[in-house]
Amino acid sequence: MATPRTPVRGGRTGSPLTPYLFLAPYLALFVAFVAFPAVYGLWISLHDWDYMMSSQRFLGLQNYTDLMDPASVVFRDFWNGMGNTLLFTVISVPFLLVLPLLLALLLQQKFPGRTFFRAMFFAPYVLGVAVIGLMWRYLLDGNFGLVNAYLGTDISWTTSQPWAWVSLVGVTVWWTLGFNAVIFLAGLGDIPAEHYEAAALDGAGWWASFVHVTLPGLRPVMIFVVVITVLASANMFGQSYLITQGGPSQSTQTAIMVITELGLSRYQMGAAAAQSYLLALFLAVVSIANFWLMRDKDAAEQARVQRAERRRRRGNDGPPPEPSDPQVPATPASLGTVR
């Protein structure tokens, strides 16, 4: 990872300060808008922080204990939002894994125009949530929407349950399926052809080679896609805000809607900051659980056996070396977070 030391340090290659000069503009942004607010937000969450008021009253952990107290004013809205977010995540994530994988398998076939089709299926993702929200609000309209007209139905897609959830999940799948498919497609391309050839020599059919070659080969990409898809679904905001306005009767109001309404519309920033940290904590636990559940169990077991073996031979019980982290790829933060 580290580049080898250049033989001439200082001198013409620049002073020891040079790297920091290169980093300074970005680090200034990073400190001001990422590092500092991560801590400042915690500080805010310990106060009755009304941005309209001149002084902020220190509350200690009360904003957090209020969230556990059914008698507090924030309790019902917050947990309603959390429940709705959980429901949306649980319903949408399976569709956002299976359908993009099928699409990627389809696009992996060799046929003329596959780049064109790939670009077409990705196209909705290029549009912002405001555009797709307004567009689908009209298409799903109960009185004169094209969806009802084409399906020959008479459903209030945006104002009655369970149709409001069907709509929100459907729109989200339509919008972001291409994004996950493109990542899967790249992952499929990285599986060595020899693995398929070996499976074919062993007489494996399509299904067997899918289960024994494709899925294991996709594991790192799959972990990545699961984690960012869960995060994106848990961040759902715009679709509900624009298509159902959180209705009917707050049944599609997501956690982010509750937090922004409280913190940035009613300026109860302390309470809202506490809610955002609690939600972040939930998401961190879920992400870690995802990594852990989907880790390569055989490889982890092998590593454990090897470590135990080494320890036994060395005859000491010092801390074992950590197994190397699974490759943690990265996502465009702006693409993967609040949608």
Binding site: Y26, A35, P124, N143, L231, L264, S276, Q327
Partner: protein, 275 residues
């Protein structure tokens, strides 16, 4: 594998999928060209019976909804944001990829780990920071804070790692200092990565919704997506107008996408694979 092309089922599936993915976008465009009564009849067809640009006239002449202003705000903000990201991220990514200094790995680890921190925890504190800077309801509010994201740095670092060392060595022999080397040799050789990052940042900023929704207030300051969501309130009974607004917000990004779709898709694809 080549057999696939001759399988009629493949083409049936591809055609159906194309209708599903592009159909709604086409419906948006076609609805914006319909008279209101036709768009809001009990049985609206896809194709307009009568083509009219009334919805666009309403949008561009309404004093309450300065759509042209929103468009310019969006264009200016997204362009400035993309340039800021590309400049700061390529400088930082280069230092992290090709220079050696104390604390480098720690710094990189801290920056990268924030990619998995959900953005909503920054909403309240950054709102207060903008307030203190006097940036609320200004262009800076939507240009600057987003540029602190770690993705650009990660992306540029990965790219610079892949360039051959000879670039810097020959520059050093020619007597070039580190900044000359960076701007004259390294950046020109990083053009594909720079274009990808530029386009991804532009798209993300153009489409951003939740942040501008809460830090912009004045009608004249809004970006297109936020302006559109206000239109929805004002024209609840005039769908062609709302669809025309959505078309205006989509056209620049769809056009950009048509020309640089390879960069966009490759950028997304590599984000998931190269760890």
């Amino acid at each position: 594998m080549r057999r696939a092309a001759r399988n009629p089922l493949l083409w049936v599936v591809l055609t159906l999928l194309s209708v599903v993915f592009v159909g709604p976008i086409a419906a948006m465009l076609l609805t914006s060209l319909k008279p209101t009564a036709e768009a809001q009849s009990a049985d609206p067809g896809l194709l307009p019976g009568e083509i009219t640009f009334r919805a666009y006239e309403v949008l561009f002449t309404s004093a309450d909804n300065p759509v042209l202003r929103w468009f310019l705000n969006s264009m200016l903000a997204a362009t400035a944001h993309a340039l800021l990201v590309v400049l700061t991220a390529s400088l930082a990514g280069y230092a992290l990829a090709r220079m050696d200094f104390p604390g480098k790995n720690l710094m990189f680890g801290v920056i990268i780990s924030t990619m998995f921190v959900p953005g909503f925890i920054f909403l309240m504190p950054n709102f207060l920071t903008l307030d203190r800077l006097g940036w609320l309801d200004t262009l800076a509010a939507i240009v600057v804070p987003g540029a602190a994201g770690a993705f650009g740095v990660f992306f540029m670092r990965q790219f610079f790692l892949s360039l051959p060392k000879e670039f810097e060595e020959s520059a050093r022999i020619d007597g070039a200092g580190p900044f000359t080397t960076f701007f004259r040799i390294m950046l020109p050789n990083a053009t594909p990565a720079l274009v990808t990052l530029l386009v991804l940042s532009f798209l993300a900023n153009w489409n951003d919704f939740i942040w501008p929704l809460y830090v912009l207030f004045n009608d004249a300051r809004l970006t297109l997506p936020i302006g559109l969501s206000k239109l929805q309130g004002a024209y609840t009974i005039d769908y062609p107008v709302i669809m025309a607004g959505a078309v205006i917000a989509s056209l620049p990004v769809l056009l950009l996408y048509v020309f640089v779709q390879r960069y966009v898709i490759d950028g997304v694809a590599t984000s998931g694979v190269k760890g």
